[in-house]
Subunit: 407 residues, 2 copies
């Protein structure tokens, strides 16, 4: 299976090269973060990376929102890493998000476990890890933190905010919460609210974690922790990221390391698809924190833009940003119907939106896999956005200096 | 939620009334059951029920194959029960399988935990429960046991074998294994092999059970047992039995016992869909044995008719039985494409098959829920089957007695 191969970094002229994760501390006293749950929180450390150069006019910044288990390391290579950043196929010189033209920012989300403050971080008030004393957070809180980070870079208005899945939810929240701070929104394989089926799968994952005796009410740091539960949560989630067709094509009923059925229940990874899922579960446990998984899936479940802003049209009608909405025909976790809802709300308010349903076979994960298809839509969309912005701003500055804008 | 209501048995003129589960012991020495795994097994106790009257010619017997977690109690009421048999809407006087006309048999499957020998039964050789010493069984083994039961009733040829899901797999196996012992096969929401996605979900369920510390390598009888693991397995399976649309319509994002979000991770059943799943898991643990769940899901995963008989056409071309194949548009666990495969194989061998894809919203569970739609197809199908058989047999007996068959 190709995804199990771990090779040396290939020579790639379209790579951003070596990158490093940086950390900023925001919301230090007396400032504080007002959370969706109405309590206050801070300080918050945020892990972030940037690629490309910020233009002197600071008008070419694109913020990348990562999905449930992503991190700030979206592109390029870390020292001694076996794999590049999680969206390396899409971000780089000459790629879908072209770092020759754009200044790209990606940051780990609040509640995560990849450098940004989360339940595994030290609570400065107690000197102990937060564990379950960490507040329940929302997608709005994640965006609030990232908006503050962007502000700290001296960027008032982003050229675009881009993300898929939970990342797409953040993009929508950016548009609703900071309508004047983005020119464009790229929403991939996402939805304006979590579906009941999505909540159901998340609930199963959380249940697997909290019923693992090693979970110990969230106080497992320094111990083995709920390894079985977290692996199980990942296994079930991973199935929902693939399509029935892609899982059939990729594995079918092929056996792992055997020509014949074993007729044994002890052989837990008899079929290739079982082996693959077990491997995914095991690998996930090595890199992800169970408490973060609980908090972040809960934030997804809570996400409901229509409810937060009265209606979806109200939420999205606040901004003049141009939208690019993309769904995938084989995505059954975030089906196209949910993208169409977003498009309908935008059209209701006569906003500018481009919508495409891609006929990709890879299910929900398509936005991570089919980067070539994405590139074809995103490159001209971002190009137009930057052109429009520069035209408008040169018009504004001419007007400000008393010149008549040319036709 | 209506399915949580537990009411007194309603007065129902179309009910088979009070029923009782009987037990037969088969494969007693020197006879024995040759299993698919090539080892031998016996004796086997089988739990069964019958409804209606066997005709003097013994030509009106219909065998009902139950699905993964079903049992012999398909119709009518047990004393003090709160619910009727699992397919009571479909089996009874004047119903889809009309017990005024047909003699209906239903029996618990081998490996189960509802009266037929399974991993929780006593191993006569040791006086202890089998636990994981129970052999790994196949759908073929289940059918072999039920065929022997039918034989023990003095019935040489069934009018029909009927089942959905794993029950439908048994129907297909009946047709392939005992081609001369049935006039008709009714295959609902099923497949000639388990899909890779289906195997994946089953693997997750099994993993939840065996990683529960209370599982204790299968030796948990008399103890609490893997309650959390088995409940989790059921929760994830239950999602796959519903459609995205039905779960959305039934629960949406409605909260349980609250008007507002709790912003707490301790509230595990905040959304109605969470509450529903938790309830389903809890209830399942009360009635089902975890070892049986492991063995039966493994049998499903192993099921591959094409592989067992060289090809699907070979498997199904052995019988002259008439087929009724029904799939459901919203069933994503056993999608219509899998039913079409069965139909194609039958047509390739010029066999008689009626196929319908029902536009039911209830997902895989549709065959248990939409019994009215089913009735419309099944009633005339069974009627024609019986007519054809009786015509043929009266022709045969006239011919045997030297009479000329009338036109």
């Amino acid at each position: 299976m190709t995804e199990l191969l771990e090779e040396a970094p290939p020579v790639d002229e379209r790579s951003v090269g070596m990158t490093e994760t940086h950390h900023s501390t925001l919301f230090e006293p007396p400032s504080e973060l007002r959370l969706g749950c109405r309590s206050k929180f801070g300080p918050v450390t945020v892990a972030w990376e940037t690629y490309g150069e910020l233009s002197p006019a600071r008008d070419n910044a694109i913020f990348i929102c990562h999905a449930l288990t992503g991190d700030a390391h979206a592109a390029g290579w870390h020292a001694n890493a076996k794999k590049p950043g999680w969206w390396d196929g899409f971000i780089g010189p000459g790629k879908g998000v072209d770092t020759n033209k754009y200044f790209v920012i990606c940051a780990n989300i609040l509640g995560g476990c990849m450098g940004t403050t989360g339940p595994g971080s030290i609570n400065p008030e107690t000197g102990e890890r937060f564990c379950r004393d960490f507040p329940v957070i929302t997608v709005g809180d994640m965006v609030e933190v990232h908006a503050e980070l962007v502000r700290s870079f001296g960027i008032e208005r982003l050229l675009a905010v881009v993300g898929g899945s939970l990342g797409g939810m953040q993009v929508l929240e950016w548009a609703a919460r900071f309508p004047d701070r983005l020119d464009a929104a790229v929403v991939l394989a996402s939805a304006a609210n979590m579906s009941a089926q999505g909540i159901a799968f998340n609930a199963v994952g959380r249940r697997a974690i909290v019923t693992d005796p090693q979970y110990n009410a969230g106080k497992y740091y320094g111990e083995a922790g709920p390894r079985y539960g977290l692996a199980l949560a990942r296994m079930v989630a991973h199935i929902t990221y693939l399509s029935e067709a892609s899982i059939e094509r990729k594995f079918g009923r092929r056996l792992q390391d055997s020509e014949e059925l074993a007729y044994s229940l002890l052989r837990e990874t008899e079929f290739q698809v079982e082996s693959y899922l077990h491997y995914q579960g095991k690998r996930f446990v090595e890199r992800f924190d169970a408490n973060s998984y609980l908090y972040l899936t809960k934030a997804m479940d809570y996400f409901n833009l229509a409810d937060s802003y009265g209606s979806l049209a109200n939420a999205l009608g606040r901004t003049d940003a141009h939208f690019l909405v993309i769904s995938y025909s084989s995505d059954w976790l975030f089906p196209s119907s949910q993208s169409r809802e977003i498009v309908r709300a935008l059209l209701e308010r006569r906003r500018h939106v481009t919508f495409a349903e891609f006929d990709s076979p890879f299910g929900h994960d398509s936005f991570l896999i089919d980067v070539e298809g994405l590139e074809k839509m995103v490159v001209p969309f971002l190009h137009r956005t930057l052109e429009t912005r520069r035209k408008k701003e040169s018009g504004v500055s001419r007007q400000e200096s008393g010149e008549k804008p040319s036709e």
